[in-house]
């Protein structure tokens, strides 16, 4: 059951009405049931896997909580927690590379694996489980009630593609007698409507054009490559932030407050700022559970910090997918962050302080956007060869200004959405202008808001085509 479907709206509406109609004591159990129904709507086997991982994490957590020196046992727990992920997601990658290396050194290695289907959300609930064990080993309180813990792992709005919620962000909410008021319902509904629009209208409209540029054998030229990079950057932003909006909005309807996952990342004026605004729950996870421990372990050798930063970002890339393209994407971002902290530190600090319209601010923004777009090229490419060919098209100005893959439609759609986003979040922030204007005529504010959401709802109904899976489902 995909979020952007009428089926999901029916599921959500039914769950909402039932949830608030049943006795309070049953509510968490009800949410667990609904979450497993949601997850098993793809494949019932997924539910068994999730239940197994949940049982292990809970029991091992209880075990850690009783140890005098839990850190001694932590690595074993993390390794077991990672095993399903390694099997389902990374085993084919390792086997493929082993075969490749064997071929290079002249060994007749030819290992074959049966087709392995990647369970949805496994990367997310594995990271969530690791965070739980690490926090316990660091002295955090465990989630005591098994039912609360099962809900923490399975709660459907965050189950498939995050946000990655850490125990301390939700523990109290799980245990509390949750309540909502009109403002929560209104906010939840708004987030859901905006999420539908971002995904079904903007991201899915961009998808076929981007797919065309990155299709195997497509041989894009300079213009196509630029459009493909920018188009994919927009597609993944609207896709994933739309998903996050629906997740956060859905959770709000049941009294949960999830952490934000995006905060205008394409308005960033430094790479550090970008990672503070893009997929925030993952970047915080990488910082706290990968980078900081490595940094701490080598605290007497501060020069290694840059290496750990690149390593952590490479791990972040590898988390996204078992392909070299993702690893390179992570390394590029690691290097950009190192640059941000070293050679260009002064420049970016000035840019962050300076106004949006200042020369240094604009220069930093252009630099960040260009580098992020080039990195997207590796993220989206099907192979390093394809990414290299597209980079070469960029450098050698292949085909000049004549597109070789895209037609006018694709260029127009990508340009229009790019300019709209630019106008919205970077240059003039028209939403603020509208608010200021509406403040002068408060009677118009409600009709204008109503008209805005009416347009958004109608556009979503009319423009959504065959709903495609969210990009982040594959991670």
């Amino acid at each position: 059951m995909i979020f952007t479907s009428y089926t999901y709206l029916l599921f959500l509406g039914g769950a909402f009405l039932l949830y608030w109609s049943i006795p309070r004591a049953w509510r968490n159990a009800f949410l667990v049931g609904m979450s497993y129904a949601f997850y098993c709507s793809w494949r019932w086997q997924y539910g068994v896997l999730l239940l197994g991982v949940t049982a292990f994490t809970y029991l091992y957590g209880a075990f850690l909580a009783k140890r005098a020196e839990p850190r001694r046992w932590l690595m074993l727990g993390v390794a077991i927690e990672l095993t399903p992920l390694l099997f389902f997601k990374y085993l084919p990658f390792f086997v493929e590379n082993l075969n490749g290396v064997g071929g290079l050194v002249g060994l007749p290695v030819s290992l074959r694996l049966p087709e392995i289907i990647l369970p949805l959300g496994i990367s997310f609930f594995t990271f969530q489980g690791i965070a739980y064990l690490v926090d316990l080993a660091s002295g955090a309180e465990p989630i005591r009630k098994p039912l609360d813990f099962v809900l923490y792992k399975a709660l459907w709005p965050q189950l498939i593609a995050g946000p990655i919620i850490r125990p301390d962000e939700i523990r109290e909410q799980l245990e509390a007698d949750r309540a909502i008021d009109y403002a929560d319902v209104a906010e939840g509904a708004k987030r859901i409507v905006n999420g539908f629009f971002k995904k079904a209208v903007l991201a899915d409209t961009l998808a076929p054009y981007v797919d065309g540029v990155f299709a195997a054998q497509a041989a894009p030229g300079f213009v196509d490559t630029i459009a493909g990079m920018v188009g994919f950057g927009l597609q993944i932003y609207f896709d994933f932030s739309g998903y996050s909006d629906i997740a956060i909005g859905s959770a709000r309807l049941f009294g949960f407050r999830f952490p934000e996952n995006f905060a205008l990342p394409y308005a960033s004026r430094s790479f550090q700022q970008f990672w503070g605004r893009w997929h925030m729950s993952l970047s915080r996870w990488i910082r706290d559970y990968v980078f900081t421990p490595m940094l701490f372990a080598s605290r007497h050798r501060p020069r290694l910090a840059a290496l750990w930063l690149v390593t952590a970002m490479a791990a972040c890339g590898f988390w996204h997918g078992a392909r070299w393209t993702f690893i390179v994407w992570g390394i590029i971002h690691g290097l950009l962050l190192v640059l941000n902290q070293s050679l260009l530190r002064g420049f970016f600090a000035r840019a962050e302080r300076a106004g949006r319209a200042s020369f240094v601010g604009i220069a930093a923004w252009v630099l960040v956007m260009f580098a992020v777009a080039v990195a997207w090229l590796f993220f989206r490419a099907q192979s390093l060869d394809q990414a290299a060919a597209m980079l070469s098209a960029l450098v050698h100005f292949r085909g000049g200004f004549a597109p070789m893959v895209l037609r006018e439609n694709g260029l127009l759609v990508i340009a229009a959405i790019f300019l709209a986003l630019l106008g919205y979040q970077v240059l003039t922030a028209p939403a603020l202008v509208v608010k200021r204007w509406a403040a002068r005529a408060p009677r118009l504010l409600q009709p204008l808001t109503g008209a805005y959401y009416c347009l958004v709802v109608m556009a979503t109904i009319v423009l959504e085509s065959n709903t495609k899976a969210f990009v982040y489902f594959q991670f």
Partner: protein, 394 residues
């Protein structure tokens, strides 16, 4: 306060009536009323579009359908109408909108395939049409493989009209994705097809693999049972909420307006020369070559022809590119031993209709359909009849 009363208290909150919600509800009601009133006009306009499937039963010749009236949108419903190839010889005619679109139609007008069926029936051979607007080679390959995969639909000959500008199209349309998803046997055959000659046809095989991958549950985001619930919900909501019911007509209208905007913005006219996109052209050439391989392996006679074009209308093709396309098609057919004809000039100027105020360069009147069918029989009749009785190996 118990749960239900508390729930009601949320909806009875004073902010509901004083906020944006009443405006939103009012505007949505107004929009739905407007759509309900205007829907008939939009649907009539959509029906008047030559390329769309017609919902007017009077436009079809009485009797069992002899081509897919849904023009690719519901091909599964028309698939059983293919004459049983185990009891008689069958010729399938596939191609783009020229196959079924009749300019200035009158009741009783027949399409190319219906004329073809009339003529071949005398020789104990039946013809059936599988056409869709802008059909390209991957879709034609899908039809060929699907038809070949069962004895009762396996044709003796598969006739495919080559249209130059369709060599720029890619991707299976959603309706054909649904059709392919429902046919596991066809998926297996396509998979097997690319297991072997992938080295010869890298582009085509990559494309086929990607089309197959997009059918999988995770990639499309929905499982089979999910899809049927979603379909039922959409139908039910479509009956109750005018905007949802008319979303396709609204979408078509909006797309048309955007198309006009694009043309205005880029100064594109119906006759503006549109250079080919080489990557797509190469992909479609490989897919055509794959069709030839499939047909040969299945014992099906693949017949190719270059479709007729209006001699009085300027077309959007770059002349050198179009000439190269025709030369390549002839050479390809010759090399593969595929029967081939260039029917570019078989329909005279008086048999073509108008597209807006200008001559339509690709869609003719009923007479054009008759002439094209006659030309096909003239060029390939002996091949169709000779194929009769030759039962391809299953």
């Amino acid at each position: 306060m118990n749960g239900r009363r508390w729930l009601w208290s949320i909806f009875a909150d004073r902010r509901v009536l004083r906020g944006a919600v009443p405006w939103l509800v009012l505007l949505l009601i107004a929009a739905n009323v407007y759509v309900a009133l205007a829907r008939g006009g939009w649907e009539a306009a959509r029906d008047a579009n030559l390329l769309a499937p017609t919902t007017d039963p009077g436009r079809h010749v009485a009797g069992a359908p002899r081509y897919d009236w849904s023009v690719g949108e519901d091909v599964a419903s028309f698939w059983p109408k293919i004459p049983d190839a185990t009891v008689q010889s069958v010729v399938i005619l596939a191609g783009m909108s020229q196959m079924y679109a009749i300019n200035d139609p009158r009741p009783g007008d027949e399409t190319i395939v219906e004329h073809l069926d009339d003529k071949l029936r005398q020789h104990g051979v039946r013809a059936f049409g599988l056409a869709a607007p802008n059909m390209h080679n991957e879709e034609a390959l899908l039809y060929l493989v699907a038809a070949a995969s069962r004895p009762e639909t396996r044709p003796a000959a598969f006739v495919y009209g080559l249209c130059f500008d369709k060599f720029r199209n890619v991707d299976l349309r959603p309706a054909l994705q649904r059709f392919l998803r429902s046919r596991a046997d066809v998926q297996d055959r396509l998979r097997a097809l690319c297991a072997e000659p992938a080295g010869r046809y890298p582009r085509a095989c990559e494309k086929i693999r990607s089309s197959l991958a997009s059918l999988e549950d995770v990639a499309t985001g929905t499982a089979q049972h999910d899809e049927s619930i979603e379909g039922w919900l959409r139908d039910a909501l479509g009956r109750a909420v005018p905007i949802i019911g008319a979303r396709e007509a609204l979408n078509a209208r909006l797309q048309y307006e955007l198309y006009l905007l694009r043309n205005w913005l880029f100064r594109i006219r119906a006759t503006s020369k549109r250079p080919i996109l080489h990557s797509r052209y190469e992909l479609n050439r490989e897919l055509l070559a794959l069709m030839a391989d499939v047909a040969r392996a299945e014992g099906i006679e693949l017949v190719l022809y270059v479709i007729p074009l209006n001699p009085q209308a300027e077309n959007p093709y770059v002349p050198e590119e179009y000439e190269a396309f025709k030369s390549w098609s002839a050479a390809f057919a010759d090399e593969r031993g595929v029967p081939f004809a260039n029917l570019e000039d078989v329909v005279p100027r008086d048999d073509w209709g108008l597209l807006g105020d200008e001559p339509d360069f690709k869609h003719f009147r009923a007479e054009g359909h008759r002439r094209t069918a006659e030309a096909l029989v003239d060029r390939f009749g002996p091949i169709f009849v000779a194929a009769k009785g030759r039962t391809p190996a299953p």
